[in-house]
């Protein structure tokens, strides 16, 4: 196991800022690194219901049609999530070969599938190069925003 790197100095700075600004929480993230400090005024109360869970979305491919944000942390690395609501097609037309298959190699920018929204066909480009490890949806399946579609490792 590698040692967990702790930037003590940064944490002290954040703690100082917390004090100074009277905030109760500060969170900073830089790429995959994230720091969070908090100070509670009153005793923390346990919630009766589980807190809202972040949807399993991942920094996903940005399509020109709809801006795809990158909320929170997600599931397996390399997961490509849907940037929009619509119907996903794995092949350019019915009966044709699929754009990609499990085990196949993809280059960054290569079309993975098409998502139809409002009768417009939106090509979904690969956000990074790699091997298609898993295809998580069926051809013609309706997909939500943020729904995991494929894993490219």
């Amino acid at each position: 196991m590698t040692k967990f790197p702790i930037d003590e100095e940064a944490l002290r700075t954040l703690a100082g800022l917390l004090e100074e600004t009277g905030l109760s929480e500060i969170e900073v993230a830089e790429g995959e690194r994230r720091l969070r400090v908090a100070r509670h005024a009153a005793p923390v109360v346990q919630a009766a219901l589980p807190p809202a869970q972040a949807l399993p979305v991942q920094p996903a491919a940005a399509l020109p049609a709809a801006g795809a944000p990158a909320p929170a942390a997600g599931p397996a690395e390399g997961t490509v999530s849907s940037p929009m609501v619509g119907t996903a097609y794995l092949a350019p037309e019915p009966g044709a070969a699929t754009f990609v298959s499990v085990g196949g190699r993809v280059e960054k920018g290569q079309t993975l599938m098409i998502i139809e929204a409002m009768k417009v066909m939106n090509a979904l480009p690969a956000p990074h190069a790699g091997t298609v490890k898993e295809i998580l949806i069926q051809d013609g399946q309706p997909v939500e925003f943020g729904e995991p579609l494929m894993v490219i490792g």
Partner: protein
């Protein structure tokens, strides 16, 4: 009737619409942003579709995403709720073009009433009283006198290029007219380099009175009486009551008659609200809201009519089966808007709701999407609960409201509940003696005192 309705909104109003659908045997589709994945209406809906990230522009205002969600779920109709796309004529048109029913008025009526200038013209043509004033700039003392005679006192003289109160003068009676007129011109000249001024009736202490309309677009139009929404801060309504403590039955009948005729001529369909300023027995049109309103439950409480159910029915092509003579105003109702805000600074207070308990018992209705463990997201409107109380008399309603506010528990976040508790114990409020400026005046006193 529809098989499946998509609810293009969030929060308490999405839940309100879900409830109406469920009670009509209509399946519901909740669309939501990633921030609302655990929202109450999402949990209760038959189906849900995540349509985008937290930012409203990318989710609740994202027309393409909402229509795509309708497509993939096979919905028949879309209810836009309140706010977001509810008064967007383009969205209404787009919904119809794609073959869905828009649960609301026609895109044309939304567009007409969405344009302040055209709306006022339309109101005048439809026989709805507007604030009387000069048609354009008032040039010279002779015209000023003539306009004053037509419009009546008190009069407001304001710079055509104006703003921020400069170039604005009030003439309470004829004796003050000429001085006010010339001072306004001089101020306008100095401030804006343009001495053109308009004149209109000055309303010093108006109340905000609005008429709830329900129409089927097929000749059926009724009104559900008025709501008094004078309790406002920065044009945000805080508490509403129906009927208004300021109106009598004759005034109600008169403005009701005007509203009915106008909506009949317009051929309006769906629920809608005509907003007026009211002073000394006179009504002056402000605007028309071509949608459901946040405060609709108080009209439901005093008439027994489910407005959302009726909206859905007429959108499906049904005619109203209520006639005006069937509608009886029964008792009194008040709504308190409980916002996730600091009750003194109004700073938003999103966060985890650690404990939630609704008031219960006779005459109490709560419309809220909160539950213990819910996290109020920071991206949206701060309204988290509506407490609606009904009583046989205004006094009974006030007493019931007091005890119901005591019973509401929303812990973990700040809410406006303490403000409401203070407010309803004020003699002016108890007497029903307040205008649209009262709340800000009182809050200023509180802050100073």
């Amino acid at each position: 009737m529809f098989e499946k309705v998509l609810i293009a909104n969030r929060g308490e109003i999405a839940l309100r619409i879900h409830r109406a659908c469920r009670e009509m045997g209509i399946a519901t589709v909740a669309v939501h942003s990633t921030a609302d994945a655990d929202a109450m209406h999402v949990r209760l809906a038959d189906e849900s579709v995540c349509i985008g990230p937290p930012q409203p522009a990318k989710s609740y205002l994202n027309m393409a995403a909402i229509l795509s969600a309708a497509t993939i779920t096979g919905a028949d109709a879309i209810h836009p709720g309140v706010g977001f796309l509810s008064e967007n004529a383009d969205f209404a048109a787009m919904v119809e073009e794609h073959g869905y029913v828009f649960i609301g008025p026609s895109p044309e009526h939304i567009a007409l009433m969405g344009d302040k200038v055209r709306a006022k013209e339309a109101a005048r043509e439809l026989g709805i009283p507007v604030v009387p004033g000069s048609d354009g700039a008032v040039e010279g003392e002779a015209q000023a006198r003539k306009v004053a005679e037509q419009v009546g006192f008190p009069l407001l003289i304001k710079a055509a290029a104006g703003g921020g109160g400069r170039g604005m003068k009030v003439a309470l009676h004829e004796g003050e007219l000429m001085q006010a007129y010339s001072m306004a011109r001089a101020e306008a000249k100095a401030a804006f380099g343009n001495d053109q001024v308009y004149m209109e009736r000055y309303l010093g202490q108006p109340r905000h009175i609005e008429m709830q309309i329900l129409a089927d677009g097929q000749g059926g139009v009724v009104h559900l009486g008025e709501r008094d929404c004078s309790m406002q801060r920065r044009h945000q309504k805080l508490l509403e009551e129906a009927p208004s403590p300021a109106l009598n039955a004759a005034e109600r009948a008169r403005i009701g008659e005007i509203a009915l005729k106008a909506m009949h001529r317009l051929g309006y369909r769906s629920a809608g609200t005509l907003e007026f300023l009211y002073e000394n027995g006179e009504f002056f049109f402000i605007e028309m809201n071509t949608r459901l309103q946040v405060e609709h439950p108080i009209s439901e409480a005093i008439t027994g009519i489910d407005l959302v159910r009726e909206q859905i029915r007429v959108a499906a092509g049904a005619t109203l089966d209520i006639r005006q003579e069937d509608i009886k105003i029964n008792g009194h109702a008040i709504e308190c808007r409980l916002n996730a805000e600091d009750p003194t600074t109004f700073a938003p207070s999103p966060g985890l709701v650690t404990d939630y308990h609704q008031a219960g018992g006779l005459g109490v209705r709560v419309d809220s999407h909160l539950y213990a463990g819910y996290r109020v997201p920071p991206y949206y409107d701060s309204l988290v609960a509506k407490l609606i109380v009904h009583g046989n008399t205004r006094n009974e309603c006030l007493m019931r409201l007091r005890r119901a506010l005591e019973e509401m528990v929303i812990d973990g976040i700040a809410t406006t509940t303490p403000l409401h508790q203070k407010l309803i114990s004020q003699p002016d409020f108890i007497d029903g003696n307040y205008d649209i400026h009262w709340l800000e005046r009182w809050m200023k006193q509180q802050a100073e005192g």
